[in-house]
């Protein structure tokens, strides 16, 4: 027995020793492939490793994918007839030109020549029509892009020309022509997507990585970097370690604190905005938030600048309504100061509304979003000072979507709301009283009227003015406690240039390059 035991222990020891020896030998042998040299190796091979916290765990079909994280990556793979540029303008992509005629009721699309899909096939009008029809088809209920149902007819009017006739003019219509153009009748989009963008999809390994490669037959200016690997690391500390170890070259959406910890000789920190409206959204249909004075009291009772200082080290852009600054055309900076911090006024408004001693409230927060959790904690503290006893109810994302967003069973929530398309409508329609996604139950006849009017106005200037009035309406009625557009901190390895911020949630990899490559 004794001998047997000693033998087993000895054998295991030898095994372990061999293993570690093996390990250290491998270490010396392949040192070029590890540590910060890994980054150097990638650089000389003209490759890039990007760390992302969210997996692309859904259908990769661009018309069905919904997660912002998926769109952010696939922006490099797919293009629409038009696509956004960094300044928020729409520029021609698969279309060579899009002309609006007849007071906006006719849209003439000229297809760009020599645009190829990643599978080598040329893009034809048939593919465009197929992609268009997929998004406006109403047979399964609502169309994927409801705004496209304004198209009455879509006809081929030339070899490379398509003419759309609209039931009514809408200056925002063109923003919806950014839907991805995909090959007709190709059935593997969900797992092996094919588009026309500067990068082609190579592979996806669940919770591991996504690989893209430069598309050499791209119609426009070709991308610089040959191969991009997105590594999925859900854990923020893991991402930071990946940067320091040389495994990653770029990580975005870092918090201010996280970004501060990577500052080293190897990295540059760039600051953009997340392009969303973070607010303490109030359920306007439940007591006591059905009372304007109570909602205004909360607005006066929150010191937003201090919140930014405490939870975000002062980074972020304060907001006063449901619009963020990257939408330069629609953003009204003057609304930011609708409510200045005034706890005394907050208390008197509460007393006036019948709550001299405050009340209790629940703030439902999706716990996987640290910035929202941090914000909620500061809010709870600040609201306490005006007598409002708030408590945080952290929930899973799926539960949040179900309970708060769908069922509207909540009092208040901290969340960031963004735009699904580059239109003011995407930000503002969600507060129209009978709109299906009006999760805060906002109900103001003036607001509804302004929205209806904006939809009928073809004059761009007049429409913008109407949208701005809607923003003002939300601010004055204190629909919610508008807080900020979060800072988006990006760590970029030195030598990597071309990082561009967009008004939408994308990372344009085609613009990136290693200096000296």
């Amino acid at each position: 027995m004794q001998r047997k035991f000693t033998a087993i222990v000895l054998a295991l020891c030898v095994l372990l020793l061999t293993l570690t020896a093996c390990g250290s030998k491998g270490n010396n042998g392949t040192n070029d492939g590890t540590d910060a040299n890994g980054a150097a190796a990638r650089r000389s091979a003209n490759e890039l490793a990007v760390g992302i916290a969210q997996d692309l765990d859904e259908s990769l079909d661009p018309h069905y994918a919904v997660a912002a994280g998926t769109r952010e990556v696939m922006f490099n793979v797919f293009e629409g007839l038009l696509k956004p540029d960094p300044d928020g303008n729409l520029i021609p992509a698969v279309a060579k030109a899009v002309d609006v005629e007849n007071d906006g009721t006719t849209v003439r699309i000229t297809l760009r020549e020599n645009v190829k899909f990643h599978n080598g096939a040329a893009v034809t009008l048939r593919d465009v029509l197929y992609s268009l029809d997929r998004n406006r088809d109403e047979t399964g209920g609502e169309a994927l892009i409801p705004a496209l149902t304004a198209i009455e007819t879509a006809e081929t009017t030339g070899e490379n020309e398509l003419t759309l006739t609209l039931s009514e003019a809408n200056p925002e219509f063109l923003s919806y022509l950014t839907f991805a153009i995909i090959p007709a009748d190709y059935t593997e989009q969900a797992t092996a997507p094919v588009g026309t963008g500067p990068y082609k999809f190579i592979s996806r390994k669940a919770l591991d990585n996504i690989v893209l490669e430069r598309f050499d037959d791209y119609w426009g200016e070709k991308a610089h970097i040959q191969k991009v690997t997105y590594k999925i690391i859900e854990n923020a500390e893991g991402l930071l370690l990946g940067l320091q170890s040389g495994a990653l070259d770029l990580v975005n959406h870092l918090t201010v604190t996280q970004a501060a910890s990577v500052k080293s000789e190897d990295f540059e920190i760039r600051e953009g905005t997340m392009n969303l409206v973070q607010a303490l959204y109030l359920n306007n249909a439940v007591k006591p938030f059905d009372d304007l004075r109570v909602r205004q009291a909360l607005c006066y009772g929150v010191d937003r600048q201090k919140l930014l200082d405490l939870a975000f080290d002062g980074h972020g852009t304060l907001l006063g309504s449901s619009m963020y600054p990257a939408f330069t055309k629609y953003f009204d900076a003057s609304l930011t100061d609708t409510y200045s911090y005034d706890p005394a006024k907050a208390k008197s408004l509460l007393a006036e509304a019948g709550y001299p001693d405050g009340f209790e409230m629940t703030v439902t927060v999706p716990s996987n979003y640290q910035p929202h959790m941090d914000t909620a904690e500061v809010l709870v503290d600040q609201l306490g000072k005006i007598g409002v006893k708030a408590k945080i109810d952290p929930v899973e994302w799926g539960v949040w979507v179900d309970d708060v967003y769908t069922e509207r069973k909540f009092m208040s929530t901290v969340i960031g709301v963004d735009a699904s398309s580059m239109t003011a409508r995407a930000m503002l329609e969600r507060f129209v009283s009978d709109y299906g996604k009006n999760f805060i139950n906002y109900n103001d006849p003036d607001y509804d009227r302004l929205f209806a009017e904006a939809q009928k106005t073809f004059d761009d200037g007049k429409q913008v003015a109407l949208y701005k009035q809607m923003e003002k309406n939300l601010a004055q009625n204190a629909a919610s406690v508008y807080i900020q557009d979060l800072a988006d901190m990006v760590a970029v390895r030195k030598g990597l240039t071309g990082l561009t911020f967009y008004p939408v949630y994308v990372l344009d990899v085609a613009a990136l390059s290693w200096s000296g490559q």
Partner: protein, 317 residues
């Protein structure tokens, strides 16, 4: 033979029950898969269309029987999230998790058992105090902190591996194993302390017994008594503990997998629960349950080998 049949039957029954409970849990908790997937922009029609596509509009038992029928014939279904067969997603995760678990288990036995045995001899109060201090400290460190510490020390400072750059097991097996060794270390360290403590306590318990004194009275040295008799009696509890550890290793590797960026089963399980992707969750859980049950059975077998007289669970001496 009869026992074997009985054991197999009970194993299958347990697995069946497990799968049913997991299915039921998804029925009861908040969060509809289709709604979770489509997020906050989805219209009711799209949610319903997706529910129909995923078969979620069918009644509970129909879905369960359908899933079970597929499972027993080796068809694990299609992941709701990835739209890929579950097996295609799960298969590449098994390697890294198995290697990490095996390495961790090796470390635990190789370091934990001798440590426990030898530290049982220690008598000096100062030594004991130091021992207790380190034991408590090591057991108290959360795997998350330990993982970051190890990644930082061995990865960023010593460059022994590159945290965040896990080489695929099939492409660079040696590199992958080296990488996983550090993840295994993070898993193993607290459990080495636990195993050592466990063995030491049962050894100390046995050392005070009559048969030890009798053996020593017959002329055996303390050391001989320890290895010849005491170990034999102290080991079964430790083996059971190790079996439990083995089962735990597979399940509790999530944090370590996340910190080290290892594409393993734990991360897949957690992400799939969040996504309400129950074809994946059910398959993984049933697999884990199978593993837990088998390690339990294995522990029984090992204990039987150590001491055939223990059959029926009677204690020796």
């Amino acid at each position: 033979m009869k026992t074997l049949l009985k054991k197999t039957a009970s194993l299958l029954l347990t697995l069946l029950l497990t799968s049913f409970l997991v299915f039921l849990a998804f029925e009861l908790i908040d969060g509809d898969p289709a709604r979770t997937m489509l997020g906050d922009q989805a219209t009711e029609q799209r949610v319903q269309a997706l529910q129909a596509e995923l078969g979620l509009d069918k009644p509970f038992f129909t879905r369960y029987i359908g899933w079970l029928g597929g499972f027993v014939t080796g068809d694990f279904g299609v992941s709701f999230s990835y739209r890929q067969p579950v097996w295609e997603i799960l298969a590449p995760k098994l390697g890294p998790t198995a290697v990490t678990g095996a390495l961790a288990f090796l470390l635990i036995t190789v370091c934990g058992l001798p440590l426990g045995l030898f530290s049982a001899h220690w008598k000096h109060p100062a030594v004991l105090a130091v021992r207790t201090f380190f034991e408590q400290l090591i057991m108290a460190v959360p795997p998350f902190v330990l993982g970051i510490g190890l990644s930082w020390g061995f990865g960023v400072v010593l460059h022994a591996f590159t945290p965040g750059d896990f080489p695929a097991l099939s492409e660079d097996p040696l590199g992958a194993v080296r990488y996983l060794f550090f993840a295994a270390l993070a898993l193993a360290v607290p459990r080495i302390a636990m195993t050592a403590r466990m063995l030491r306590m049962s050894v100390s318990g046995e050392l005070g017994r009559d048969y030890v004194r009798a053996s020593m009275a017959r002329g055996a040295t303390r050391r001989q008594a320890l290895t010849r008799h005491v170990l034999k009696n102290a080991l079964p509890a430790t083996v059971a503990f190790l079996a439990q550890t083995m089962a735990e290793l597979v399940g509790s590797g999530v944090i370590v997998e996340q910190v080290f960026g290892v594409p393993g089963v734990g991360r897949l399980l957690v992400a799939s629960i969040g996504n309400r992707d129950y074809p994946v969750v059910c398959t993984v859980i049933v697999m884990l349950a199978f593993f837990v049950l088998v390690s339990g059975a294995l522990a029984d077998a090992v204990n039987l080998m150590i001491d055939p007289g223990r059959r029926g669970g009677k204690s020796h001496a």
